[in-house]
C-alpha cells in the first residue's frame, strides 16, 4: 500500500535525476579539467609541523641501515617508499610526515611523537575516493597515547571503519613506524 504512494514520487524524481550524472560529467570535462582534483589537502605538511612544534625546525633525515630496514619491513610488510625518512624535532617532540598506500594511492599523514607515545595524528593529503573517513578527527584521535607493545604492535586497538579498512590499516602501520623511527633518531 505504502508503495503506491512512494512510487510516483520516486519515478518523477528519478527521471529528473536520470540525466544529471551525465550532465555533470560532461560539464566538468568541458570545463577543461580545472574543476578536477583527486588530491584533497586537509593541511599543508609545513603547517602541520608548525602547528605541532610551534616552529619549523631544520629538516633532518634518518637513513635506515639493513637491520632497521628489516624492522620497517616487518611493520609495513614491505620497504618504506624512500630509504631516508625526514623528520622535524623540537625538544622531546618529533614530527614525521609519512606516506603509505591505502588502496591504490598514497595517504600523506603527519605523526607527532613524544617520549615513545603518539601525541597526535593528522591526515594531510588524501588521494583516493574511498576511505575518506580516516581523515576525520574522531578517527585519528584514537591514536593519541598509543605506544609500541610486544611484537611492534600498538598497545591499544584502533576501531575499524566499515568500508575504509585498507586506509585504517595504512594509518595504523604508519603509527607503528613513527613510534619505531622515534627510537632511532
Amino acid at each position: 500500500m505504502a508503495n503506491l504512494i512512494i512510487k510516483p514520487l520516486t519515478l518523477v524524481s528519478a527521471t529528473a535525476s536520470r540525466l544529471r550524472p551525465l550532465f555533470f560529467v560532461i560539464a566538468l570535462l568541458l570545463s577543461g579539467g580545472s574543476a578536477f582534483s583527486a588530491e584533497r589537502i586537509y593541511q599543508k605538511p609545513s603547517d602541520f609541523i608548525r602547528e605541532s612544534l610551534g616552529t619549523i625546525p631544520a629538516t633532518r633525515a634518518l637513513s635506515l641501515n639493513a637491520g632497521q630496514q628489516k624492522v620497517v619491513r616487518a611493520i609495513l610488510g614491505k620497504r618504506y617508499k624512500t630509504s631516508s625518512i625526514r623528520y622535524w624535532s623540537v625538544g622531546k617532540k618529533t614530527a614525521f610526515i609519512l606516506e603509505e598506500i591505502g588502496k591504490t594511492e598514497y595517504i600523506t599523514t603527519g605523526y607527532l611523537v613524544s617520549g615513545g607515545k603518539i601525541s597526535s595524528v593528522k591526515v594531510l593529503v588524501y588521494r583516493e575516493t574511498h576511505g575518506w573517513e580516516v581523515g576525520r578527527p574522531s578517527f585519528t584521535k584514537q591514536f593519541r597515547g598509543a605506544r609500541l607493545a610486544q611484537g611492534m604492535q600498538l598497545n591499544k586497538g584502533v576501531k575499524n571503519i566499515a568500508g575504509a579498512t585498507l586506509s585504517v590499516r595504512a594509518l595504523t602501520k604508519l603509527a607503528r613506524l613513527a613510534l619505531y623511527l622515534e627510537t632511532l633518531k
Partner: protein, 414 residues
Amino acid sequence: MTSHFTLSALLISLSVSAASGVTLEELAARLESLEAKVQTYEKRYGPLDQPKQETIAMPASSGPRSSVVAAPTDRPASIDSAFLGNSGGNRWYEKTSIGGYGELHLNTGDKDEIDFHRWVLFVNHRFNDRVSLFSEFELEHSLAGDGKPGEVELEQAYIEFDLENGLSAKAGLYLLPLGVLNEVHEPETFYGVERNNVEKNIIPTTWWEGGAALTKNFDNGVKVDFAVHSALNVPTAGSKAFNIRSGRQKVAEADATNWAASGRVQYSTGNGLSLSGFANFQSDIAAGNSEDNSALLLGAAAQYNSGGFGMRALVSHWEIDGASFAAADADSQWGYFLEPSYRWSFANGSRVGIFGRYSAYEYASGSRKEVDEYTVGMNYWPIDNVVLKTDYNVLKEDGKSDNKTLNFGVGYSF
C-alpha cells in the same frame, strides 16, 4: 634564478610601461609595491638569495644507530612540494595496480563439496590525477565452460572521475551501493565461510549493473551515492520464477527496455559506528510479461565495533507491483540478520574472532521460501590479508527438514 626572475619581471614591466606611456610617478609606485612584496615574501620564506640546493652536512654524531643528517632550515614551500602533488609516480607501473582476492570452501553435511568459489583479479589504472579505471575479473567455481559449474565474469569495469570537494562520478559497469557485502566482500572482511543468505537472496548480492553514478563524501562522515543503471529481469515462469537473484542480467547482452536507480546515504562516526540506508527502484522488474512490475527495495544496515566486540545488522525489503507477483505470493520478499562477534588480537599481529548470526528471510524461487538460519563460527587471521574460517550452519526452511552444514574456508586479498 630568483633574482634573474625579479630582474626580468622588472624589465618587462618597464618596457610595458614605456610602451603604454606611464608616468615616472606611477613607475616609482609600482617599484615600491614590488619591493614591499619581496620583503613580505622574504619574511615568510627566508632570503631570496639563499642557495636553493640543500647542503647536507656530515652526521652530527657517529653513534651505533642510524646516521642522522642535518639539512638547513627548509622553506615551508620545499617541505610541501615533497609531499603535495601526485606521489604515486608517472611510470606505467606506478599508474597501474593489480590486486585480487580468492576463497576456497569445503562444505560438509548432506552433501560434501569442495569448491574454489572465487578467484578474482583487479586491474586498476590511473590515467591522470582525475581519471581512473577500475576493473574486476572473476572466475567462479574454478572451471567455466559448457556444462561446467563455473562462470567467468566481468564484475566491475568503470571509469571514475574525481571531482572537486569530495564528489566523484563513475560510468561503466559497477557494483551497486546496496547493503554491506555488495561493494566490500573480500573474504577477510566478513565472518562465515559463505556470504550471508539474506544479502544473497534479497538484495541480491553480488549485484552489478551498467550505468552512471555520483558519490559525494562530506567532511562530517556522511556519504551519499546515487546511481542510474540497467535493470533486473526477473523470470516469471519455471523453477526460478519470481526469484530476484535470478533477475540479474550481469550486463551480458542484457535487456535494456527498463531502467533502475539506486541510492544510499551512509554515516560513519569514524570510531566504530557506521549506519546506512539504501534504496533501489526498478521501472519494471520483469520484462518478460506484459504487466507493469515496478518494484522498490528499501533497506538499512548497521555496523559497530568497539574493542573486540563487533555487531553487524541488516534489513532489506522488496515490494513488487503486478498481479502475477501477487498471485505467486512473491510481491513482498524480505530478510534481516543480526551478527554479534568478538575478536582477540595477538602480539604477533594475528587475530581470532568468533561470531554468531541469526537470519530470517522470505523469498520466491518457483514457490515462496520461508527460512530461519542459525550460524556460529570462527575466523583466524594469521596476517591481515589472509583468513581461515569455519562455521556451523543450521538452515530451517518451512516444509523441509533442517539442513546442517559444517563449513571450512581459506581466503586472501591483496
